[in-house]
């Protein structure tokens, strides 16, 4: 069809109608379907419309389920290049970690949107426990294939997500002259991106802790929430 053109040339239709199949797939109950489409079409026009063939523009096609598996090697090489790229542009270890964090924030913001849509039915988390569980299970499972090992609370405002072996660090050996650099700063950035966009501002950092009886240290993601977040939690009732 006209898959090359993104925008319709017809002035009167900015939003082209969803096919009936598309509506049924994403809004299983008719009630929701009519609510969602109310602004654009009447119920009858959607229901009586025959499918007009594949929607031409990418913004009208239904959101795909996405690939659940990606090559670990491909990701590792890409991540290795990201680290090397920022290393040449940073003048200190803190700056390198900060740049990795920024790179992760973009990922986190997008993860929040996609996972809320795909897995949570567009439900928005407004409580701290809720968003933490979301990160612990949904985000971790989507990114790393399993949920994080544990979620603990240190002080009132400090929560820690723990992972025995973080995927991004699996093949990375930091040389001695780079001290305590931890490339899990990228993952800290992902978490920060999710929290910021969900309305829970926090300072997030990643560090190693030695675990007894294990050869490799655990990675802890420390989230320190801003005071207004905690105040809001208090107001909403603990």
């Amino acid at each position: 069809g006209n898959g090359g053109r993104r925008y319709s040339s017809k002035a009167e239709t900015v939003w082209r109608p969803l096919s009936t199949q598309g509506a049924r797939r994403h809004f299983p109950q008719n009630k929701n379907a009519t609510k969602a489409l109310r602004g654009r079409h009447t119920v009858s026009s959607v229901m009586t419309q025959r499918q007009q063939g594949p929607p031409a523009s990418i913004v009208d096609r239904p959101l795909t389920k996405g690939r659940s598996e990606v090559s670990l090697s491909a990701f590792s090489f890409l991540f290795s290049e990201i680290v090397q790229y920022h290393r040449t542009r940073a003048s200190s270890i803190r700056e390198l970690e900060h740049k990795l964090e920024e790179a992760g924030q973009g990922v986190g913001a997008r993860m929040l949107e996609v996972l809320s849509y795909r897995e949570k039915g567009n439900r928005r988390e407004i409580r701290l426990q809720g968003i933490l569980q979301f990160i612990n299970t949904n985000v971790w499972r989507c990114l790393f294939g399993k949920s994080a090992d544990s979620l603990e609370i240190y002080n009132d405002d400090e929560y820690v997500l723990s992972d025995r072996s973080l995927l991004v660090n699996r093949f990375i050996s930091v040389p001695k002259d780079l001290g305590d650099l931890n490339c899990a700063a990228f993952v800290a950035g992902v978490v920060k991106g999710v929290l910021e966009d969900a309305g829970f501002s926090a300072e997030v950092s990643a560090y190693y802790t030695v675990a007894e009886g294990q050869a490799r240290p655990r990675t802890n993601i420390l989230m320190k929430f801003a005071p207004e977040v905690l105040e809001r939690e208090q107001r909403l009732g603990v």
């Binding site: 090697s73 590792s76 090489f77 290049e81 680290v83 090397q84 093949f171 050996s173 930091v174």
Partner: protein, 161 residues
């Protein structure tokens, strides 16, 4: 000592030969040579005499040259270089990757499973050295995870021998 060795039930011929010669069993050392012939990794995994650093560097470049010469000496085309060097005291197995990196191990005579070990080492190299952002290409390998995993692989190999 012969009666003691013969008394071991299920003793494999290569272990008997090595034990008779008073040599340690299993893998002796692992060497990695980059595509220009420079040594980038060398580690001993048995109780053998160690050469000093300059000596090992020299030996590695000599091996690199011998490997290249063997390809030219071959009377038929398509030779891929020396794969096995057998002496009365040790065996040396070598593989060259498509990128020109050479991996070789020295081990007690007639040790089995060295080809598989070499491919395991190549896998470990491509995982823990190549995917490490702090490794510079063609430079000596100083990756902790690589050395740690390689140690486990060789120890497992030696335990089975």
């Amino acid at each position: 000592s012969w009666t003691r060795i013969a008394g071991r039930i299920g003793a494999v011929p290569h272990t008997m030969a090595a034990m008779a010669a008073g040599l340690p069993l299993g893998v002796y050392s692992v060497w990695i040579i980059n595509k220009s012939g420079g040594l980038i990794f060398q580690r001993n995994y048995a109780d053998i005499d160690t050469n000093d650093t300059n000596e090992t560097l020299r030996l590695a470049s000599i091996w690199h040259s011998l490997h290249a010469i063997s390809i030219q000496l071959s009377p038929v085309p398509g030779c891929t270089g020396i794969e096995l060097l057998e002496t009365d005291k040790f065996d040396l197995h070598c593989i060259q990757t498509l990128t020109g990196t050479k991996f070789f191990v020295t081990a007690s005579p007639k040790t089995i499973g060295l080809e598989h070990l070499l491919h395991t080492i190549y896998d470990l190299y491509s995982d823990f050295v190549m995917k490490n952002p702090f490794y510079e290409m063609e430079m000596p390998v100083r990756c902790e995870l690589f050395e740690h995993n390689l140690q486990s692989a060789c120890e497992m190999m030696n335990a089975r021998a």
